[in-house]
């Protein structure tokens, strides 16, 4: 082993930056899509209408029982078959992430919805609001607010999971780091650097969650 040479990092910053942007972009879109779909699943599950709630429950349990990497593969091969044309690695990965994360977000939102007192629903009903209006204006805003720390925590996990997209040859931050590491022969430096970047991003997220929790406790 020679000396460490960290100039390899500075030299490839633009390339690594592109990878990081892809990771963050994929994370953000998956969080948004996952929360929207997850909320609908949670509402379905709590609807009290058996066909709807059983379907939602089956979906959530199925998805939570398979590894994410398998879901990414599925959609990489299945979506082009279903649509009859390729949609590219990014969109197939995005669909996989949204559908996968929705299962987890739906459990979080379900807990959030159940944390809102029944009296709030009664208050809405007694003023003549219908089911959707009560969910939209009364229940979900409170459920969402109560669950923000856990939603952010799930987002951090999701960010780490985006490193799995190498299997469909998407060039996220992790993949970009690997490419640089191998082509420049600087594995130790690059993987240390990659670890540092993931640590800084995820740890800042955790600190933010801790602050949110403190603020909500007061």
């Amino acid at each position: 082993m020679g000396e460490f040479d960290f100039s390899v990092i500075t030299n490839s910053l633009p390339f690594l930056g592109q990878g990081l942007m892809l990771s963050l972009w994929l994370t953000l879109l998956s969080i948004i899509g996952g929360i929207v779909l997850g909320t609908l699943l949670a509402l379905a599950r709590l609807s009290g209408f058996a066909p709807l709630s059983l379907t939602a429950a089956a979906y959530v349990n199925l998805i939570r029982s398979v590894p994410l990497i398998l879901v990414i593969f599925w959609f990489y091969f299945l979506v082009p078959l279903a649509l009859g044309r390729p949609i590219g690695s990014f969109y197939s990965a995005l669909i996989a992430f949204v559908l996968f994360e929705a299962a987890y977000y739906s459990e979080i939102m379900r807990a959030g919805i159940q944390s809102v007192r029944k009296g709030q629903v009664h208050a809405g009903q007694s003023t003549g609001l219908n089911y959707w209006q009560i969910q939209r204006y009364v229940v979900l805003p409170q459920a969402f607010r109560n669950m923000i720390p856990i939603l952010v925590t799930q987002g951090i996990i999701l960010f780490q999971d985006t490193s799995l997209v190498f299997v469909v040859s998407l060039r996220d931050f992790m993949t970009a780091s690997s490419i640089v590491a191998r082509t420049e022969g600087r594995l130790v430096e690059m993987y240390l650097f990659a670890a540092l970047v993931y640590f800084v991003i995820c740890f800042s997220g955790s600190l933010y969650v801790r602050r949110l929790n403190k603020r909500m406790a007061t």
Partner: protein
Amino acid sequence: MIALQNISKWYGDFQVLKDCSATVDKGQVVVVCGPSGSGKSTLIKCVNGLEAVQQGQIQVDGQEVTSKKTNLTALRSRIGMVFQHFELYPHMTVLENLCLAQEKVLKRSRDEAVSKAEMLIKRVGISEHINKHPSQLSGGQQQRVAIARSLAMDPIAMLFDEPTSALDPEMINEVLDVMVELAKEGMTMMVVTHEMGFAKKVADRVVFMDEGAIVENRPTDDFFGNPESDRARDFLSKILNH
């Protein structure tokens, strides 16, 4: 205005309401009292269909609450309800609390809703707090906001489910004052409460419940002057001596 005919309700094997019948005529104030667990809160929640009944019929303003054909959502918008724990929306300001259903249900314009809200908030005496969130108000103030929120819908009748029992003693009167004023203006009211002073002052009739059944249903003066049943006498002696 409100008519309950032989309603019964069960939670599993446990019968919470036993063949209850009562009426509230237009402009009347009826107080429902009784020991805790006697089914008073369940009874009043049946009036606007928040709780379902298994037997009997409920009519409000000539419409069947218990019938599937009735548009329950529309009917509810015309009956105000005030809850023991206020149930203001904690994520909205006082003003938003008052405007939500006005805009979404009655389709009033923003300006109409706001001016109605301002008028009612002034009436219950908390104009200076209109842009605050409920958590910044005292219990008594929150309950007055809740009353104003119901009144904003121009209800034909008001239901009160133990409106003062979650309040500190010094705040009870500020809420009762608003209710007395409403009663004097001729609002049709059904009130579940332990406040016998309020009942004596404004109630036309008192309904006394015990173990899910209506034991007495009589004009206020009769009820207090000469209760028929031992259970009512017992209840009154306990509650009036404090």
